[in-house]
Subunit: 484 residues, 2 copies
């Protein structure tokens, strides 16, 4: 392990209380105790490189502005694959390749319209098709009265004539009192994922699903639905929180109110795209692979800036940073830009399938995998999905990360793309980067998930935190070799 | 202590990995261990109230949009005082009053212009007067060649003819590798606070100071300067980081380049305004006072939304929340909307002066003071300015705050307004709310410090965190009475 020395001591000039702020001294080299720890100096050099010479933000600008959104199967997703492979090469990966993955090819079409009839002030509703939805029959307008529910089970308990021929509005908000917005999202997502099938089962002709966000605004937020097998497929759209709130009230006041729905989204034949992989061979344990990545595909509204442009540029930046500071990995490090996380996870599944075959038939071992797929916000820590010993080891990093305000080392799911790797034997340590989540669902799967809503320093801090975890795993795995 | 029960268990429906996110279970009532702790249940009820029924965001909208910025001495600052007192009354303070404070009355005027002459492409520079600056002589344009320095000391080492009659550009950026942006601010603030006097001492006729922000943009960020006594007062302006960077380069390429400067800011006679105070009398220790507050004054560009509208609505929200959950304080709680933090801290000094007199002449004791003056961002923890025993007690709160992702319990300055209270004997425990600081200096003292750049949930979480600290101090002070 070589690290270019970079001793910098910040000076502290905040003597003028009068000037309106209480300042705090901060040394760019940690305390004497910390300096005696080589990991601590290495991590400091990673953060310094990310913050002083970072390229993540500029890479994100190119990905979001020059390429744009990149739904699986789309030409822009292919363009993003070429771009990603080129950057991996330019940053010095020993080799790069595409792992072919057959992905769905669903398109939103150019029409998603919904109107009310019979309220005090009829209006056009802000909607967009849920990913994977069928269009309305023959792309024509359907119309019906509205049933408002908060729980899917309510539909089962209703007399069939109360639902038949109607459009169901799923209107349960995300719970505001949950501190972690991902938990509130998880508590409302059944409406989006399973609402259409539950509505169809009860006899409905269409479904509107309250957008999954705490924000009260007029943005519809898309996302995947999944039709149950053997259930009639009815069209389903996300409706903005403002419109869902208004419509819910209107139906109470005007029970005969009707809503129209017209959408021309549809599925085409699957196409071949793939995971983009760059490999940096390890010096001591080249057959042991540490995988890190995010997903290159995005939804087709907005620019996929937080979801998951941030994870992609985090991944690329880890390679750039570690090369820049002269790091030499012990393990082989794989940088993976996964395809099709949003509507199928076929990229993640294919990667795990190949990994399982390699572990079964060769000496290759997938020892760890890390994912960044929760946005480009200020990093808070990691979600750890690992056996107890490895999880304890990761939790012992807390003091190393304390100078960077990275403090969460909680057990939990590490990321959709890498999750199929859990099935390997032996199984890798999985880590998910946890940025602050308060703003994430303001943008998630909406037209506002754009470059301008990503903050340069927060993005850079995320990249550095991700890189530091890669380096610590590289230094410390396998944990039985690590001295106490 | 009474607390309305509010047992809520969140459900967790995130079974569909396919739907594109890894969710984490979160109960709104903490673990069994935590439930057995009454403080834990109390804190949960505070966060629930803030997130489900919060009024901080709407209060901030009124303060920033209906009242606007509120520089000390201005009519809008007086309007804000009336508004704040009215809210304290409506939220149920036992009594409210104004503590008179004589404040400066400086005005920016309507002109701050700077042009270059002699570059490849002359331009108008984005500037604004530093607070307290004199205008240009007779409000007319001055013009001179430019001396660029990064350190104030460089001016002392220069031959006088290199500076005499010129305009000094202080162009040292905030250090990007410091994790805490307040430290980077502290490391650059000498240029704003003392640059004008250092330039005048060396013979210069004016000063331009690089804006104190990490962002590269065209926003000038104002803030207070302080003239040394017996030094000629020269006009000084903040210049945007984009313009400062450009001008620094131009001067290297075109050493004869000149810059003009015209400003008509000026100081008027001091006026009387005051600290707005609301008091809620304690049931057990009414003579022992816990003070909390922020500052009502702001700079006169932007809307003072983060600085310090957030602290003001945090303070008001603590009263509303604690009343809503039926809390009955042991100590007397003082809600203080301080005046004149930005350019004099006369409000904070007056409050401490009155407190010192009361401690000397009565049985009143100022046992603790808390300040929120670092923005409306997601809360990270507290800065603790207290004797060791009390600091250790505060640090022991870490596990109580862990469910809310509040994790920093560091020694440090707690806030400008409350800092003069340190001089009391006995001295109070001082705590400063520490929100995440990565975005703060994007907005700080600029036209972008507006309501739209404050996030509702982040603001609410800050208010709840502030309220929880007040309650814990109320429960635990004096610490020698606290059972282990």
């Amino acid at each position: 392990m070589k690290v270019k020395g970079k001793p910098v001591i910040s000076s502290m000039r905040c003597t003028l209380l009068f000037l309106g702020i209480i300042c705090a001294a901060e040394a760019t080299v940690p305390s004497v105790h910390a300096q005696s720890n080589p990991d601590s100096a290495l991590i400091r050099s990673i953060y310094d490189e990310a913050l002083a010479h970072g390229e993540a933000y500029e890479n994100l600008r190119v990905l979001t502005k020059d390429i744009g959104h990149r739904l699986s199967g789309s030409p822009s997703a292919s363009k993003a694959m070429e771009w990603g492979q080129r950057i991996l090469q330019s940053y010095g990966a020993d080799s790069t390749w595409i792992m072919p993955v057959v992905v769905p090819s669903w398109t939103r079409g150019d029409r998603a319209e919904s109107m009310t009839f019979g309220s005090a002030a009829d209006r056009s509703l802000h909607i967009t098709a849920l990913g994977g939805s069928v269009g309305t029959p023959n792309d024509e307008t359907i119309r019906g009265r509205v049933v408002v529910v908060k729980e899917l089970d309510e539909l089962k308990r209703m007399p069939r004539e109360k639902v038949k021929g109607r459009i169901v509005l799923f209107n349960r908000p995300m719970d505001p009192v949950l501190i972690n917005t991902g938990s509130a999202y998880g508590g409302a997502i059944d409406q989006r994922g399973s609402g259409a099938s539950a509505a169809a089962e009860a006899g409905a002709i269409g479904a509107l699903v309250r957008s999954l966000t705490h924000a009260l605004d007029t943005l519809p937020h898309t996302g995947a639905l999944r039709y149950k097998e053997d259930i009639r497929r009815i069209p389903a759209a996300a409706i903005s929180t403002v419109d869902a709130t208004w419509l819910g009230r209107q139906v109470t006041e005007h029970p005969d109110l009707e809503v129209s729905l017209q959408m021309n989204c549809r599925a085409f034949d699957d196409v071949e795209q793939g995971n983009v992989i760059g490999e940096w061979r390890g010096s001591e344990r080249p057959n042991e692979i540490i995988t890190l990545g995010g997903h290159l595909d995005s939804w087709d509204i907005g620019e996929g800036a937080h979801d998951d442009g941030a994870g992609i540029v985090h991944t690329l930046e880890v390679l750039r940073i570690l090369k820049a500071i002269g790091y030499q990995p012990r393990h082989t490090i794989r940088f993976v830009l996964f395809i099709n996380e949003e509507n199928g996870n076929r990229g993640g599944k294919m990667y795990a399938k190949v990994a399982a075959e390699e572990q079964a038939t060769s000496s290759k071992r997938y020892v760890a995998a890390l994912e960044s797929d929760a946005g480009g916000f200020v990093p808070r820590g990691f979600r750890i999905d690992a056996p107890d010993d490895e999880a304890t080891q990761v939790q012992s990093w807390a003091s190393l990360f304390d100078p960077y305000n990275v403090h969460q080392f909680r057990r939990g799911g590490a990321g959709v793309d890498i999750s199929p790797l859990k099935e390997l034997t032996p199984r890798p340590v999985l880590l998910g980067l946890s940025p602050d989540g308060q703003r994430y669902f303001d943008f998630h799967h909406s037209a506002q998930d754009i470059f301008e809503n990503v903050h340069k320093r927060e993005l850079e801090l995320g990249a550095a935190t991700f890189a530091a975890a890669v380096v610590l795993l590289d230094q410390q795995l396998p944990i039985q070799d690590t001295p106490d």
